[in-house]
């Protein structure tokens, strides 16, 4: 008997098939748990990010900062938790040994599952960013959409998803997903708190959250991208390293998708050398990138326009952003503001116009008012001031502008007028300390009363004692010409702090 013996041919495993990979990815997209969380995420976005944005000034940088300060926190727990849920699937169902017999490497399945989770997370995140940016574009009057907050946000949720997936794959269990979700929720808050601590070191700049910035951040100068670049490097490096660790798990005898170390070993045996080398390179590259970013963050220093990392800094970003100010006059007093704050120009002019007219003609009185940038670096004094010849009153954007009533409220108007008079009367000592002496306070209150504003809304320079109030009432009761004449002759002494309450007429 003769038999035809055909030479056995090992089954050929194609290294990569785009069609099969796409089919696998599609299956994972369809069965992913992330769609269950979309209604919750949508509700969180509407209440947290969208409502906060609606109450913020219509400035691109201010509203775009919500992407990292609000949206990342809202997405963190779900991106990390549901990725951990997906990653723990094989271990939870104890199908590791069964799936070890499949042709393709376990990493193929895991990357497909991770890719599907990332697609859902990033699609939801980018849809939310789009909604936020469309709403912002309808409200702003100047500037363009900043993209760095989006890059940082995308990197953050990607990192959280990858870390969650790897945690789920390495430690499959029913408690892994909620514990990962809690950790993902804690990280931004701890980072945010450390960033605001007085003894902070600059490494905390790498955390997910950002501290509250002035409302004119990114308006007069570009927002420096240095910290954003370091954040993307740091978080992206962690994500890449985590993928490398996941790929190397069988080699390291970590029980991925199986309860038996033996199957991890058999999986390692089926792992080609090229995959081992590639995984090791990915792991090392990710760690190196994160370490580099950590080192760079340690070299950050704060300047007048933001955090600067020398190795990443582009001097071109230091140049001011050119703009043509919006100006208007009320009662003959000219007020100019950055066009980004054009919405507030009318209210500010209505507040400062009568105040400017009240002191017009006095020596050193400002001839106009102009908005300037809030300094970010030392000495951290952001109050208004007088500069130039003829003097110009320089003021910065501040919180009252975005109060519910905005510049139309009595309080906001009084605050602006009070600061105007305090700056004019306080002289150099007020510029340094922010305090008025009793006579200066009384005159400031009297001038406020003269233009029809209650001083109780606008006491910035100090508390009004009964003696100050009495002196202010006395001075305010004088005819306008008498007040003006007294100020003409005594202004220098008053600003130098040489006038007492008793000497006020």
């Amino acid at each position: 008997m003769t038999t035809n013996v055909f030479p056995s041919r090992p089954a050929r495993v194609r290294s990569f098939s785009p069609g099969a990979a796409l089919r696998l990815l599609w299956i994972e997209i369809k069965r992913n748990a992330m769609p269950w969380a979309l209604p919750i995420l949508a509700a969180l976005f509407c209440y947290d990010t969208y409502r906060t944005a609606s109450g913020s000034p219509p400035i691109w940088t201010v509203r775009a900062s919500l992407v990292t300060s609000k949206m990342v926190f809202d997405f963190a727990a779900f991106a990390g938790g549901l990725a951990a849920w997906t990653g723990s699937r094989e271990g939870r169902r104890r199908t590791g040994d069964l799936l070890a017999t499949t042709v393709r490497h376990a990493l193929t399945r895991q990357l497909a599952a991770l890719g599907a989770t990332l697609l859902w997370v990033l699609a939801a995140f980018l849809a939310a960013v789009a909604a936020l940016y469309i709403e912002t574009a309808r409200a702003v009057t100047w500037g363009g959409a900043p993209l760095w907050p989006v890059f940082v946000g995308v990197t953050a949720v990607t990192m959280l998803s990858v870390l969650g997936f790897v945690a789920g794959a390495l430690f499959p269990g029913r408690f892994t997903a909620p514990l990962v979700a809690i950790c993902a929720g804690l990280l931004p808050i701890i980072g945010s708190h450390n960033l605001q601590a007085p003894t902070r070191n600059t490494h905390v700049l790498l955390t997910l959250n950002v501290s509250l910035q002035p409302y004119d951040w990114g308006v007069f100068h570009h927002v420096l991208p240095d910290v954003s670049i370091a954040q993307v490097m740091f978080m992206g490096g962690i994500a890449v390293a985590a993928i490398g660790l996941l790929a190397l798990a069988p080699v390291l005898r970590l029980p991925v998708g199986s309860s038996a170390a033996g199957s991890a070993g058999s999986a390692a045996a089926g792992m080609g050398w090229w995959l081992r080398v590639t995984s090791a390179v990915v792991l090392v590259a990710g760690v190196a990138t994160s370490c580099t970013a950590y080192y760079l963050a340690g070299t950050a220093k704060q300047t007048q326009i933001g955090w600067e990392i020398p190795a990443l800094h582009d001097a071109a970003n230091d140049r001011p952003v050119p703009y043509t100010p919006d100006c208007t006059s009320v009662s003959g007093f000219r007020v100019c503001m950055h066009p980004a704050f054009g919405e507030y120009l009318g209210g500010v002019a209505v507040a400062l116009g009568p105040a400017g007219a009240e002191i017009a003609g006095l020596p050193g009185a400002p001839v106009r008012a102009s908005q300037v940038a809030t300094p970010l670096g030392p000495p951290y004094y952001s109050g208004p001031g007088l500069s130039g010849a003829p003097p110009v009153y320089q003021f910065t954007a501040y919180l009252d502008w975005v109060s519910p009533a905005g510049m139309d409220s009595v309080q906001s108007r009084a605050a602006l007028q009070g600061q105007f008079f305090d700056t004019f009367l306080g002289g150099p000592s007020y510029a340094q300390t922010g305090n008025l002496d009793p006579a200066q306070q009384a005159v400031s209150n009297a001038l406020l009363t003269a233009i029809g504003t209650s001083p109780s809304f606008a006491n910035f320079g100090g508390f009004s004692t009964p003696r100050v109030t009495a002196a202010a009432s006395r001075f305010a009761a004088l005819p306008s010409s008498a007040r003006h004449a007294w100020l003409l002759s005594h202004l220098a002494a008053l600003r130098a702090g040489h006038v007492t309450l008793a000497e006020l007429p």
């Binding site: 069965r31 269950w36 926190f73 849920w85 929720g185």
Partner: protein, 222 residues
């Protein structure tokens, strides 16, 4: 096969012991099938995390921001309780276990009490803003949300709604909302907040005890 074989009475299962110990054994098996021992460990981790947060000042000491981290950890403890609602036996257990509602009720109640005790133990000697009253109210209310969520998503995903509620309350905390249903942001002695939290817990506990968590996993549907 003979008729004698047919007439042979079926073997009576041997009793394993007296009624008392068998009840204890049933309860223990129920708890083990729900991974309650691991859940207790998860609660201990939450307590340790709260202790670490207070010890190393991960958050602010006063003001609304001081509640952020305790709230997350309390929601985590509630989520861990929610996850223990998943049982591996499904319909078969429901069809045969007449004590099941009582076992569910007892397990959920015991774990909630244990969570409060563990978190209180974790903050002993440290200053928790709001004190044990606020912490207990948060755990009770958010656990109720987790139990309700388990009816819809199944026990394994019962952590999602507590996490969503926690994230929403972070916003409500900073916006100083006053509605009773945002009880984590209300003062410890706020009556409306207590009523809201207790009602949610009672409804969740009752519904879970009667119906049990959904037995099919969410991603088994595909």
């Amino acid at each position: 096969m003979t008729a004698a074989e047919v007439r042979t009475p079926p073997a009576v299962p041997a009793r394993t012991g007296s009624r008392g110990p068998s009840g204890v054994r049933l309860a223990w098996l129920h708890l083990r099938s729900r991974r309650v021992p691991a859940g207790v460990l998860a609660l201990a981790v939450c307590a340790a995390a709260l202790r670490a947060a207070l010890h190393w000042h991960w958050s602010f000491n006063a003001g609304p921001y001081s509640q952020q981290i305790p709230m997350i950890i309390e929601a985590g403890a509630a989520a861990a309780i929610g996850v223990t609602t998943h049982g591996p036996f499904g319909e078969a257990e429901r069809a045969t276990g007449r004590w099941l509602p009582w076992l569910r009720l007892g397990a959920a109640l015991a774990l909630t009490g244990l969570a409060i005790a563990a978190l209180q133990l974790g903050v002993t000697g440290a200053s928790l803003n709001g004190g044990i009253l606020q912490m207990a109210r948060n755990v009770i209310g958010i656990t109720g949300i987790g139990l309700l969520c388990s009816l819809v998503t199944g026990g394994l995903l019962a952590w999602t709604l507590p996490m969503g509620y926690m994230a929403f309350c972070q916003y409500a905390l900073l916006e100083a909302w006053r509605a009773p249903w945002t009880w984590p942001v209300r003062p410890p002695t706020d009556r409306g907040a207590w009523i809201a939290a207790c009602v949610v817990f009672a409804v969740g506990l009752l519904a879970f005890a009667l119906r049990g968590a959904r037995t099919r996993l969410t991603d088994d549907n595909a």
